[in-house]
């Protein structure tokens, strides 16, 4: 269901239908952690919202790390398994002001730290196209609920590629705007300098409406931008004539799956036919091959500090102990999974005084170099383009978060560049391989979201995959 298809429907009926569908699919997909308990109150509050509000009566799903006052928000971690926020995230206020009805909170990798959604405290999320395959993560629940047509708009967050990769695996649009475009206030963080609010839709038009609603300055987030928010949806223009597009060769060269490559090349031809100027660029291979380790150091260093507030003292799960220190130690030991604790250790290690120069500061330096590299390309092109992933959604046993093969390093991690630079990036479905969806990844200059939507619209027109959803039998 796209936003445009909601019109002239009974709002209450629509919301309950979405809820029913989500509940019916839950045993198959396991995408939801909790359902909203205040639907009637929200419907009542909707009476104060003008009927022409952009999301009037639209059921929306939030990722489990988006704070909702009075509604369980666990970040899919045991340590927050009883956490009920005392305040709403900025985007919750914006969504409600636009008429959205929050119906559920969706599963994610524990604290956003993962790309498979296998680490969620509520268990793995299944891919609607093949339940035996992963959803991808960390915003797996929201990606799956978009693909399964529960909601026209589902919210995720993207620290490495946590919106864009599951979008590719589930055949939906995954949008990560410029850093600072959407306020992060009230989003349980992973790594503050890399975290972005993103979202899933099944059409470019909906993605444009959603950003118009979600974006804008928030005084509670000092990194949020003062730039005016355009009415993207009214400015959409799929004319590609003269548009300069750079294929990132390093990514395509690292991909071994011929079907994915063929699909990509065909799409490029179609774009050229529409008048786009497509050229090949090669980024510094050495820099690309250290994307993942660089990301790992920065993200884990920030994460270890960001999650130091989870100590069982003021909120969250608490384990007993003889002293305050013991309470903290026991709560953290029991509250985080082994993998998370491992990441904290890595993060701390890279911040030790004796290691900062060779790890944390070096990673910051590499990050700057990579951003320079991307900037040089985008100074000459409107967008970069590459296959979003090197494979279709894998089976759980084949998916590893930290594999270090060359193919994996570049093909599966290049979208991190959007987080290092903060530049806007989108994943758009572009076809199927072995019955599973695949996607293409675009990146543009800072605040050039309109460019992504415009070229994305042209791609959508070429692929004919607007409104593509998975039929899942309940």
């Amino acid at each position: 269901m796209q936003l445009s298809q909601y019109h002239n429907q009974d709002v209450k009926q629509r919301v309950y239908e979405a809820l029913e569908k989500a509940k019916a699919l839950q045993p198959k997909l396991n995408a939801i952690v909790s359902f909203a308990q205040d639907i009637e109150e929200q419907l009542e509050a909707l009476k104060q919202i003008p009927k022409n509000a952009p999301l009037y009566g639209v059921p929306v799903v939030l990722k489990e790390n988006v704070n909702t006052k009075g509604l369980l928000t666990t970040a899919s971690s045991r340590i927050l398994s009883n956490y009920i926020p005392v305040y709403d995230a900025c985007i919750v206020e914006k969504l409600k002001a636009a008429g959205a009805i929050i119906i559920a909170k969706s599963s994610m990798d524990e604290l956003g730290m993962g790309g498979t959604n296998l680490s969620a405290y509520s268990g793995p999320v299944n891919n609607p196209y093949d339940l035996s395959r992963i959803s991808g993560g960390s915003s797996g629940g929201s990606a799956v609920l978009s693909a399964a047509d529960v909601s026209a708009l589902t919210i995720g967050t993207d620290t490495g590629d946590s919106v864009r990769k599951p979008a590719a695996y589930n055949g939906v649009i995954g949008m990560k705007p410029t850093y600072g475009r959407i306020s992060r206030y009230g989003i349980i963080p992973y790594a503050s300098s890399l975290d972005h609010v993103g979202y899933f839709t099944t059409s470019i038009a909906d993605a444009a409406v959603a950003l118009h609603v979600l974006a804008g300055r928030d005084d509670r987030d000092m990194t949020s931008s003062y730039r005016e928010v355009p009415a993207y949806e009214t400015l959409l223009n799929s004319d590609l004539k003269g548009k300069r597009i750079a294929i990132i060769d390093n990514v395509q060269n690292a991909i071994k799956d011929d079907a994915i490559l063929a699909n990509f090349n065909q799409l490029i031809e179609q774009l050229q036919k529409r008048g786009a100027i497509v050229e090949h660029v090669s980024l510094n291979e050495q820099l690309l091959s250290v994307l993942l380790p660089t990301y790992f150091i920065i993200a884990n260093a920030e994460a270890t500090a960001n999650h130091s507030n989870l100590d069982g003292i003021r909120f969250g799960m608490r384990e007993d102990g003889e002293s305050v220190e013991e309470v903290m130690r026991h709560s953290r030991t029991a509250g985080f999974s082994t993998n998370i604790r491992k990441r904290f250790v890595i993060g701390s290690y890279s911040l030790f005084v004796e290691n900062q120069d060779k790890l944390f500061r070096k990673a910051q330096k590499v990050r700057r170099l990579i951003v320079e590299e991307i900037k040089t390309v985008l100074d000459q092109y409107d967008i970069t383009i590459a296959s979003a992933t090197g494979s279709i959604a894998p089976h759980p046993q084949d998916s590893v978060d930290e594999k270090l093969s060359d193919t994996y390093l570049i093909a599966e991690n290049h979208m991190i560049m959007g987080n290092f630079s903060g530049y806007p990036s989108i994943t758009i479905p572009c076809g199927f391989v072995q019955g599973m969806p695949i996607g293409v990844s675009l990146m543009a200059k800072p605040f050039a979201e309109q460019t992504l939507f415009d070229i994305g619209l042209a791609i959508e027109e070429e692929t004919g995959l607007r409104g593509q959803i998975a039929e899942v039998e309940a």
Binding site: N65, N67, T73, A75, L80, Y83, P85, V86, Y87, A89, R184, Y185, G186, I187, I188, P189, A191, S192, S193, D219, R220, D221, M222, T223, A301, E302, T304, A305, H307, S308, N309, L310, D311, I313, R314, F315, V324, E325, M328, S348, L351, F352, V353, Q356, F360
Partner: protein, 474 residues
Amino acid sequence: MNYETVIGIEIHCELKTKTKMFSGAPVAFGAVANSCVNEIDLGHPGTLPCVNKEAVRLAIMAATALHCEIDPLVKFDRKNYYYSDLPKGFQITQQFHPIGTGGYVEIETETGSKQIRLERIHMEEDTAKQFHNEEGTLIDFNRAGTPLVEIVSKADIRSGKEAAAYVEKLRSILNYLGVSDVKMEEGSMRCDVNISLREMGSREYGVKSEIKNLTSIANVQKAVEYEVARQSEILSNGGTIVQETRRYDEAQKATVSMRKKEGNVDYKYFPEPNIPPIRLDEAWIKEIQSHLPELPDARKARYQREYGLNDYDADVLVASRELAQFFDAVCQYTKEYKMAANWTIVELSAALNKANLKASDSPCDPKHLADMIHMIKDATISSKQAKIVFEEIMKGKDPKQVVEEKGMKQMSDSTELLKMIQEVLDNNPKSIEDFKNGKDRAIGFLVGQVMKASKGTANPAMTNQLIKEELAKR
């Protein structure tokens, strides 16, 4: 063995802002526990810091008054450690780029004035307050997030007296600036003293101890002197100093060990990702700097230069900002500066102390004091009468009214006085005879008789003079 005492002092000073360093919650001393907190102060997941501009302004004022160089690029860092009074598990501070560097404080010593150089002044946030009782630990988060400046001296201080003079001077400067309440007993100014001994002439530093819990300036001196004695006794007996944190126990009048320091703690400092570097407007900085209130040294110099006060009087007045302000107000109405100083320092101070009032809350109108001084000066009232008048103006009364009501006007009309004197002399021939026989005491008796006859209103000095003249004639 002769030892040299080496002292460096760190002072934490709460800034007088309406709201907290990084949140909009109010700052209030003595409020009901946990009533001045919001989700940011409690370190709830998803919250973000927002820099308090007023705190930056006050810090710039302090840094300027301490002759520091101001860094116009404001940056913050995270200091990571776990403690139950630290909600986020890190403190936001300025480790790498303090707002002020260098600078000095000038103190008076027995051998003249001395500059104590400063290392830095930086902004940070305060921790929560803990109360340990038998049942456990209670935490009041009202203080958490209160803006602080930390002022770190170089190890330029050489004695307990100098240490006390340094803290006193700093307190006075910050008080004059109005940036802080600087109440050591309430904890709005806290001072940690690092102290070590070394052989006279040595350039190496000895092992230091850090003394905390100093609730008054007198205690700073006492603690240092105790610690010097303790350390030199250990060293003289061939022992070694253990690096540790000690606190000053007022009852024992001794420093006692709190905890040993096992090497340096690694706080894993790194730049706060949620606060982008803030470039301060140079014009704003200049504006702040050009409107600094007059500082104690400048005010003392002005009192000596313009009002001709002596060193002692100027010091006493300047030592209290409120008293000096009252004195300045009196000087608006009189040019009898010396008398104004005397009355302010002696009578006003005593009366205020008795009533337990600050000079800023004085019930006496400065103009009334000036008027009374003029009455003394032009002999309208005697100094004896003035004491009575003063008691009344301390109740807020106008001195003219008091004098009238009490019929106190001093008789200074020479014709009238002379008439009275002739009468007294006529009635006391014995005294005249005594005087002629060389008994000077007789004058005193005669003056007393005139005073009696005039019901105390005769101007004593004039009476004395006129009696002498009349006696000479007889």
